[in-house]
Amino acid sequence: MSGHYESSYREPLILGDKSYHDITEDIARPIEGKANKNWYIAFYISLAAMLWGFGCIFYTVGTGIGVWGLSKNIGWAWDITNFVWWVGIGHAGTLISAVLLLFRQKWRMAINRSAEAMTIFAVFQAGLFPIIHMGRPWNGYWVLPIPNQFGSLWVNFNSPLLWDVFAISTYLSVSLVFWWTGLLPDFATIRDRAVKPFQKKIYALLSFGWSGRAKDWQRFEEVSLVLAGLATPLVLSVHTIVSFDFATSVNPGWHSTIFPPYFVAGAIFSGFAMVQTLLGVMRKVTNLEAYITRLHIEYMNIVIILTGGIVAVAYATEFFIAWYTGSPYENYTYLSFGAEAGAYGWAFWSLMIFNIIIPQILWIKKFRRSFVVSFLVSIAINIGMWFERFDIIAIVLSKGQLPSTWWRFEPTFVDVGIFIGTIGFFFVLFLLYARTFPVIPTAEVKTILKSSGENFKKQREENNEH
């Protein structure tokens, strides 16, 4: 059994006395059963929020951007804050599925499916904002370099907003393909187990006729590896390009070279927090506690501490260099003495408390292995990372170089409504996903059962195989 050898020092990743069949059963159960009342309650609440958000969007587009709280000095606020926040959340999914695959982290397998789903649904939400924040969204297709009858009038490739178009659309498509490829064997399992003809038909369509031959598996692995290798630079570059929206500008507080890696670190930080929020609930309601264990929670918390630490170092750097530049303008950036005591001081301190101070309790082992604490901390980080984006955008724009342009941003109900709407939309998609998709990659988890399953580990120890 040396092929399945794993150091006994490592904790098991699959708890209980599970067999291959048990795994299939456990994971297929939510799909094959009926939704309970709680699911419907959650779904209808999300749906209501989503519809309310759609209403706000139609109102905005029909009436004009003026219904938002923007002014001529603060042209970006909640719209782009939410955009960056959602894109950031999406990043953990790719990180878990691609980067952790490259680093051969077995614990990734129980969470990657849901993390990728989260990515895709979060990118959907993010993708709304670049369109709806346009003054003339019906001309939105002009951002594409399509030959046309205006003497083939093209786009200017120098704008990071255009790079955003390419980045986000590429990111969404690659993530989708990566996710779907991984789903093929699992859909095939559901197809083969389906008893109702309609269900069988659907899953047969979704699984593209996967039959699991050796050659298919070999190519499957190769494709996964190549996609992981491509998705990793992609995930770095996407949030980098998002950060360029700010960093290429000349606004003090935005123009900062650390933005690219710092945004990426923040994205992983916030994305992992969201995964933590979702999985904390999901493992309970879908009875998947044997697969998403305390150890998974702890590992995610460790990633959160690490990326949170990187973000903290970046904050310190920003704060220091803002002073070091000797430029008086840098005193009104989102991380400066000016911001700390300014009109948005509360936003600055929210950022510090939610992002930097609260997550530090995860240093204590007891807390980072606690489901409740992890859940609460993850909520705090989601809030904190929203404030980070808000602070970067609103604090910097509220005090530009000319004091005569200083302005204080107040959101309207439409700003808030659209944000709530995207949260609703996100949960609608996620709840539907949790009922129809195998939320844990069955095929992948089976590959680690013999090396990392609790029963197999115990057995090996008894046989005294090192």
Partner: protein, 534 residues
């Protein structure tokens, strides 16, 4: 146990001796007095006029003579400068063109702009400039129009004097950084509970043995620098903080809270203490852990976590103190991480090369192709990462084109264009092409070639970070630079293999050792290995 062979020891000592002699020579060759410097400048100018039409072989001289020539003429009006230039060779014209391109707006605004001369020379004399924050470069002279020539000669004199110091400094930072980052990588492997790299732990530990030696040299360097024996850090010059002095620099004075000698020395010593303390502790405990004590394992883990935390902070600050401070008017928030990337990829390459060497001599029988493949993957991945950060920093500054930041790259494009662009090929293009193929990542000679590119490239990277601010247009790659490198290389070989001979080549008591021994990455064919133990 490994035996440090006599041959290798002789090589190491030989390199150090050659390095020392060469360094001594380069110190002796620096001009002692201002008059000497003027003579050299005159000679450079003469050779410039004499070698018109000649190749760009003496790039430095050419550049220099070029600026010299202009400073002769720029007292007259701008037109005259122009007509003079036209009379010159292509070489010369190109130079002026490049210059005026990057200074388009200024050139338009100030018709009799004398700054061109100075900026060519490695320091933008922006005293007459609009924005007081747009300082860059290291001008310790106040470029008065009247005595420009004298000032220029004085400046060049300082730069010439800096040359051997900078040569040592670049190699010192390079080797110190490599040892430090090998240690950080090692700590990261410990913290990550890595199962593949355990058989490489002793190799990494051996490389970090060099940290003590280079840190001691760094300490001496810090003291010597603080005693004003060189002019590497312009903010340490006399009178910079004194409003009554000719050298007064309000920008630097504004940073006094950070840029002051006691603070700088204390911080520097603190970094060295943290790093060396960790290395001392971890090596000791690692050898103790050969008895299989899991408590020790846990202890090393905990200490490594604390180290990584401190490392993240000290590394950033170190790069501000030791490198960014050379251009005290310039700043970039990314700089710390950019330096980190440069050193990290070099460190990974060094681990890989030392491993390959030891394995080829049969001292690492448990290291198989999968381990090499993993190391080569890291070299590949972090080469891309370096490029990402390089591009992020460069592109953002280029894009916004704010004068106080752009001068940094303008200077590098003007005076250091070949190394500056060349390192992109060395650090990015070659490693990408050589190491993307999975099979190649196990072929020793391919890795060695890629590794040499990477190491040369990152040496050049540090060179381009440090030299422009210290020696400016007077740079060259000659006896001083080569000797300093050879000295540190010899020291590195000595420290590494000496330490490797002192402990068991495998960390016996590590709970992940067996995982590492049977490590087999599934897409790798292990060529020429017996598969008995798989």
């Amino acid at each position: 146990m490994y035996q440090f062979s006599g041959k290798l020891k002789m090589l190491a000592i030989g390199l150090m001796v050659i390095g020392l002699i060469g360094t001594a020579i380069s110190f002796m060759n620096t001009p002692k007095t201002l008059q000497d410097a003027k003579d050299i400048l005159a000679k450079q100018e003469a050779s410039h006029h004499g070698s018109h039409g000649g190749g760009h072989g003496e790039a430095t001289n050419d550049h220099h003579a070029n600026t010299e020539h202009k400073s002769d003429t720029h007292k007259s009006d701008h037109k005259e400068v122009k007509s003079n230039d036209v009379a010159h060779t292509n070489d010369h014209k190109k130079e002026v063109k490049a210059d005026s391109l990057s200074h388009k707006e200024e050139a338009a605004n100030h018709a009799e702009d004398t700054r061109l001369t100075d900026s060519l020379n490695g320091h933008v004399a922006e005293k007459a400039h609009v924005d007081p924050s747009s300082h860059a470069g290291n001008d310790h002279d106040t470029a008065h129009h009247g005595d420009d020539h004298e000032e220029h000669a004085k400046h060049a004199f300082h730069q010439m004097q800096n040359k051997p110091w900078s040569a040592i400094y670049v190699s010192l930072i390079f080797f110190l950084g490599i040892s430090l980052l090998v240690m950080a990588f090692y700590a990261a492997q410990r913290v990550a509970h890595a199962g593949w790299s355990v058989v490489l732990f002793r190799v990494m530990e051996a490389i970090t043995a060099n940290l003590h030696y280079v840190s001691a040299i760094m300490l001496v360097f810090i003291i010597v620098t603080a005693m004003h024996m060189n002019h590497l850090f312009p903010w340490m010059a006399d009178g910079v903080f004194d409003p009554l002095s000719e050298n007064y620099d309000p920008i630097i004075d504004g940073k006094k809270w950070f840029m002051n000698l006691p603070g700088w020395v204390m911080r520097s010593v603190f970094y060295l203490l943290v790093w060396n303390g960790f290395r001392f502790y971890i090596r000791k405990k690692s050898i103790e852990q050969d008895n299989g004590d899991l408590d020790l394992h846990k202890k090393i883990y905990n200490v490594s976590v604390v180290f990584i935390l401190l490392f993240m902070i000290t590394e950033s600050m170190m790069s501000w103190d030791w490198i960014m401070g050379i251009d005290p008017h310039w700043f970039s928030t990314l700089f710390g991480w950019y330096v980190l990337a440069t050193l990290l990829v070099s460190a990974l390459t060094v681990i890989c090369l030392v491993t390959l060497y030891l394995r080829s001599k049969g001292h690492l029988p448990f290291v198989n192709d999968s381990h090499i493949h993993d190391l080569a993957k890291f070299m590949f991945g972090f080469s891309v990462f370096w490029t990402y950060l390089w591009f992020a920093q460069f592109m953002l500054i280029w894009y916004a084109d704010m004068p106080e930041e752009t001068t940094y790259f303008a200077l590098r494009f003007k005076e250091y264009v070949v190394p500056f662009i060349g390192m992109i090929a060395l650090n990015f293009i070659f490693p990408i092409l050589l190491l993307i193929n999975s099979d190649f990542k196990t072929v020793p000679w391919v890795i060695v070639i890629a590794g040499v590119f990477i190491l040369v490239g990152h040496y050049v990277d540090l060179f381009v970070m440090i030299m422009p601010g210290t020696v400016g247009a007077q740079w060259g790659f000659g006896i001083g630079e080569i000797s300093a490198f050879l000295f540190f290389l010899g020291l590195f070989i000595f420290a590494t293999f000496n330490a490797f001979a002192k402990a068991n080549p495998v960390v016996k008591g590590n709970p992940f050792l067996h995982e590492s021994e049977i490590h087999h990455y599934y897409i790798i064919e292990h060529r020429g290995e017996d598969n008995a133990h798989h």
